[in-house]
C-alpha cells in the first residue's frame, strides 16, 4: 500500500470511529401547542381574573385568582412530585397555554410571612384577599417561556414565573409573579422550604384502602382536627414503607404512625384531611420486606449508594431497591440516574421509555432501573445481579498459602500491575485455618469501580455456625501495604468498603 492509500485508509478509519461515537437516546419533539393554547385560552377567558399587579422596568407582575388549569401535564415533565405541594406543582405543569416552554420547575412550602419577607420588593404583589401571615403556601417557580393570558390580551413572554397557592387547597392559584430578567426568579432560591411537622398518633381503624381514622397524641391537635381524625392518602402522599395504598403497608389498628397534612387540605367528598406523609413508626405487623429496601426520597446518587451497600452483602444475588423521586420529575430523576451510571463506567444496554438497563462488564453486574408502579410514577426499582467474572479480566490465578503463611508474591504483582494499567484482575488465595480447613479468599480488583473481596468461611468446621458464611466487601480503593515483618512483601489494603456481615470501613487481601 502506498502512502496516499494508507493516509486515506486512516482517514476513513478515524471518520468511521467519530461517526459511531454517539448513540441516539431520544428525540424530543415539541408538544402540539396550538390545540392546547386554544383550550387554555377558552378556559382562562371564562374565569374571573383579577389583575392586581403592576408593570415594572424589565419585568411585569401579575396576580390572579381562581385560575382553573388544564388537568394533565405535558408528557415531558409528567409526574414524580410526591408529598406536600406536589398537587400545586402538578397544576402548574398543566398550564399548557401559559407555560409554552418549561426549562425548570421547583416547588417550596412556606408561610405567607416567609414569602412576604423573602420576595424582592420589585415583585411584591398581593392577591385581592391576602392570606393570613401563618397560612401555609406552596410556591412553584418556573423557568422557561411563560405567556400570561388575560382574557383576549396576551402578555409576555416571560422567562420566569412564580405561582402561589394555599398548601393543601386544590382549587386555586392565589397570585402569580413573572419577569423577563434572567431565567429564574431572582429571589426564589433564598426562600425557605419548610417541611411539615409529623404528628404522631395511633391507628384506630381502616375505612378504605387509603382512608383511615387516627387518634392524634397531641390534645391540642385533637381539639382542632377531631379525635379521631379522618385521614386520606392520595397519589401525592409519601407512604413509608413504600406501598401503593395505606392498607398495603400492612398497618393495623393500634400501630403507631406519624402523619402530616395541611389545615386547608380536605377531601371534598369524604371530609378527610389529605395526607402529605404517612409513616409507620412501630408495628408488629409490617409487610415482609425481604430483599426490598425502601429508601424514601433518596436522591439518585443516594439511592445508588444504598443499593450498592445492600447488593454486596453476599446474602442474595438479586436485590430490589425502591427509591422515590421526591420533588424531582421522574424524567429528571431518571436522567440523573443515567448520568451517574455512565459517569461511573456502566455501559448502557437499553433505554426504552422509562426502562434503563446497564452492565458493568468488569464487575459482572447488570442493573435494571424501572419505575414502579407503572401508573404511580414515583418508585424506581433496581435489580443488581452478581454474575460471573468476565473473561476480559486478567486471571492472576489461584494459590494456596503454605505452612509458613506465605504465598506467591508474583500473583499479587500480577493483580497490581493490571490494576494500575486500567484492567480488572482476579486472584484467589486459599488460606487455611489452624485446623487445616480451607478459607478461599478471592479478590476482584476493578480500577475505576468497586473492588471486591470475598471470603468463604463455610468450610471452617470449628467456627460458630453463625460465622460459617460467605462475606463480601466492595471497596472504593485498593493499595498495596508492605508487611511490617518483611518489607519485601506486601498485601492489599482496601478502604471505603461496604458489605460484609457488619459495618466495616476497611479490609485486606489475602
Amino acid at each position: 500500500m502506498n502512502r496516499g492509500d494508507k493516509l486515506e485508509g486512516q482517514i476513513r478509519a478515524v471518520l468511521a470511529a467519530d461517526a459511531g461515537t454517539r448513540r441516539l437516546v431520544a428525540v424530543r419533539t415539541p408538544p402540539a401547542v396550538s390545540a392546547r393554547l386554544v383550550r387554555s385560552a377558552l378556559t382562562l377567558g371564562t374565569a374571573a381574573l383579577v389583575i392586581v399587579g403592576a408593570l415594572a422596568i424589565g419585568s411585569s407582575v401579575r396576580a390572579l385568582r381562581s385560575s382553573p388549569v388544564a388537568s394533565e401535564p405535558q408528557a415531558a415533565t409528567q409526574g414524580a412530585a410526591v408529598g406536600v405541594c406536589a398537587a400545586a406543582r402538578q397544576r402548574v405543569l398543566g398550564m399548557f397555554g401559559v407555560i409554552t416552554r418549561l426549562d425548570r420547575i421547583e416547588v417550596k412550602r412556606m408561610t405567607a410571612q416567609d414569602l412576604d419577607a423573602g420576595r424582592d420588593p420589585l415583585f411584591k404583589s398581593r392577591p385581592a384577599t391576602p392570606p393570613a401571615s401563618d397560612t401555609v403556601l406552596c410556591v412553584v417557580a418556573v423557568g422557561g417561556e411563560i405567556r400570561q393570558t388575560m382574557g383576549l390580551i396576551a402578555t409576555g413572554p416571560f422567562s420566569w414565573s412564580l405561582f402561589v397557592s394555599t398548601a393543601g387547597a386544590d382549587d386555586s392559584i392565589i397570585s402569580t409573579s413573572s419577569g423577563q430578567n434572567g431565567t429564574w426568579p431572582p429571589y426564589f432560591d433564598a426562600l425557605p422550604n419548610r417541611q411539615p411537622n409529623p404528628y404522631p398518633g395511633t391507628v384506630v381503624e381502616a375505612v378504605g384502602p387509603d382512608i383511615f381514622r387516627l387518634r392524634l397524641e397531641s390534645a391540642m391537635l385533637s381539639a382542632e382536627f377531631g379525635n379521631p381524625v379522618l385521614l386520606r392518602a392520595n397519589r401525592y402522599t409519601e407512604i413509608v414503607p413504600t406501598a401503593p395504598t395505606i392498607t398495603a403497608t400492612g398497618v393495623k389498628p393500634g400501630d403507631r404512625v406519624e402523619v402530616s397534612f395541611e389545615r386547608e387540605g380536605r377531601d371534598s367528598s369524604s371530609g378527610a384531611y389529605v395526607l402529605s406523609t404517612f409513616r409507620i413508626v412501630t408495628s408488629v405487623s409490617l409487610m415482609p420486606l425481604s430483599n426490598v429496601v425502601p429508601l424514601g426520597f433518596a436522591l439518585p446518587v443516594a439511592c445508588l449508594v444504598n443499593s450498592y451497600v445492600r447488593a454486596t452483602d453476599g446474602a442474595s444475588a438479586t436485590w430490589t431497591f425502591t427509591c422515590r423521586a421526591g420533588v424531582m420529575t421522574r424524567e429528571a430523576w431518571r436522567e440523573q440516574l443515567r448520568a451517574i451510571q455512565l459517569q461511573t463506567g456502566w455501559r448502557e444496554i437499553e433505554s426504552q421509555g422509562t426502562l434503563l438497563q446497564f452492565a458493568k462488564d468488569d464487575f459482572g453486574l447488570t442493573m435494571t432501573i424501572q419505575p414502579e408502579p407503572p401508573d404511580g410514577a414515583f418508585a424506581v426499582t433496581q435489580r443488581l445481579r452478581l454474575g460471573e467474572f468476565p473473561p476480559s479480566a486478567v486471571d492472576c490465578g489461584r494459590a494456596r498459602v503454605d505452612a509458613s503463611g506465605r504465598y506467591d508474591q508474583a500473583l499479587l504483582d500480577c493483580v497490581w500491575s493490571s490494576y494500575v494499567g486500567g484492567r480488572a484482575a482476579r486472584l484467589e488465595i486459599i488460606m487455611t485455618t489452624q485446623e487445616g480447613d480451607p478459607i478461599p479468599t478471592s479478590l476482584y480488583a476493578v480500577p475505576g469501580s468497586l473492588s471486591e473481596v470475598t471470603r468463604d468461611l463455610t468450610a471452617d468446621r470449628f467456627a460458630n455456625a453463625v460465622n460459617r458464611i460467605v462475606t463480601r466487601y466492595a471497596c472504593v480503593t485498593l493499595a498495596p501495604r508492605l508487611w511490617a515483618t518483611d518489607p519485601s512483601r506486601y498485601s492489599f489494603e482496601l478502604t471505603d468498603c461496604v458489605g460484609g456481615p457488619g459495618p466495616k470501613a476497611t479490609t485486606s487481601f489475602p
Binding site: 502512502r3 478515524v14 471518520l15 468511521a16 467519530d18 461515537t21 448513540r23 424530543r28 402540539a32
Partner: protein, 172 residues
Amino acid sequence: MAPGRDALVEAALSGNPDAVTKLLERLAGELLPFAGALTAGSAEADVLVGDTLSRVQERLGQLQDPAALSAWARKILLRRFLDHRRWQLRRREVRLESVALAGAPITSPDLIDLRTALTALDRKDRALIVLHYWRGMTLDETAAEMAVPVGTARSRLARILAKLRRTLGGES
C-alpha cells in the same frame, strides 16, 4: 401503494402527528452518524441534528419528492454545519439526546494524531473530507453537494492531504 414508496413518509406528509414523530426519530438515527463524522463525535452533533429536524418538521409539507427526504435532510445538516454561526440564532423546536459511547475507539498513536489533525481543519475542509471519504462520494458528487466547482473540490482535497501529511510528519 407504489413499490418503493415509504409509508412512514407518506403518513407524515398526510399530517399524522405520530408518523411525524417516528419519521423524525428515524431521520435522527440516519443523521447522527453523519453529524458525528462532521463534528468529530462532539456534542455539537446533537445540536446539528436537532436543528436539522426542526427545519425538516417546519418544511415537511413542502417536500415534493418523498424519496428525497433523507438527502434533503442531509443537505440541511451540511448547510448548518458549514454556516453554524448563522443558524445558532434559530431556536430549536426539536431537541436531541444522545450519549457518547464509552471507550476510546481509536487507540493507535498514528490515528490519534490524525484525528487531532482532522479536528483542526476548518469546517469546509472537514465537510469535504467527510463527504468524500466517509460518505464515499466521488469528487463530482462532493463538489455538487457543497455547491463548489469540481476543480475547486479537487484542488482543496489535494491541499488538505498535503497539509495532513506535513502535520503528521510524512512526505509533502
